[in-house]
């Protein structure tokens, strides 16, 4: 199987419960954030994004919260399903002068117990 999940922290949740996946970002100048889901054997899949002029954004069964004061991003998944089992990682975009950079976190493995 994929080795991308090795050495990553793991969050284990019961099917049907809500999941909260957290991400601390490093650059206070970052103004755009993305959550990705990566299932075994597949590439990262876009879930939801948020810009720094917002503190909350909702999608289908997912909510992203942004706290710029403490540089914290979270992904909430409602009624977690077995198909949600995957590695989740956040990405932050920052632009300083002529340099733009998208930085990915290392990821968290979500494991859903039946």
């Amino acid at each position: 199987g994929e080795s991308v999940g090795l050495h990553l922290p793991t969050l284990s949740v019961q099917e049907g419960d809500n999941s909260i996946i957290n991400c601390a970002y490093s650059n206070s100048a970052s103004d755009y954030f993305i959550w990705y889901k990566q299932e075994s054997g597949k590439g990262p899949q876009f879930i939801i994004d948020i810009r720094s002029n917002m503190d909350k954004r909702q999608g289908q069964r997912v909510t992203v919260l942004l706290n710029k004061t403490v540089k914290h991003l979270s992904l909430q998944i409602a009624a977690t399903q077995p198909g949600d089992s995957a590695v989740y990682f956040c990405a932050e975009f920052s632009s300083t002068g002529a340099n733009s950079k998208l930085t990915f976190g290392k990821g968290i493995t979500l494991s859903v117990r039946p």
Binding site: L6, H7, G43, F46
Partner: protein, 114 residues
């Protein structure tokens, strides 16, 4: 839906070989990217391109080159493969002229260099 297609899922090459990894996207995206993904290191940007025949170095370009002769195709070239280039390679594309729009990834090419 955006489709990013990487030509090979698995490749095994010998040290010193020249290796071509091909990527095609079907949504007329301007931006294309090559990342490698390694356990514990996350996603690292190798090269990217904002337009045809344009290329920019990412964070780890050494040992790699790229080619973008057509808008939909972005090739990663390993001039002389080495064992430390054994990795999962991910191609991505995005629409906007800046990097602050979601990247859409292919399913990856797992390259083993022996």
């Amino acid at each position: 839906d955006v489709k990013v297609t990487q030509s090979s899922r698995y490749l095994v090459k010998r040290t010193g070989e020249k290796v071509f990894l091909e990527c095609v996207q079907d949504m007329d995206h301007e931006n294309m990217f090559w990342y490698r993904q390694d356990p514990g290191l996350g996603l690292r940007l190798i090269y990217f391109s904002y337009d045809v025949k344009m290329k920019e170095k990412g964070d780890i370009p050494e040992g790699y080159s790229v080619s973008r002769e057509k808008k939909e195709r972005f090739s990663l070239i390993l001039e002389s493969a080495s064992t430390n280039q054994t990795s999962m390679y991910l191609c991505a594309s995005s629409l906007s002229g800046e990097m602050n729009s979601p990247l859409h990834f292919g399913n990856g090419t797992r390259l083993t260099v022996t």
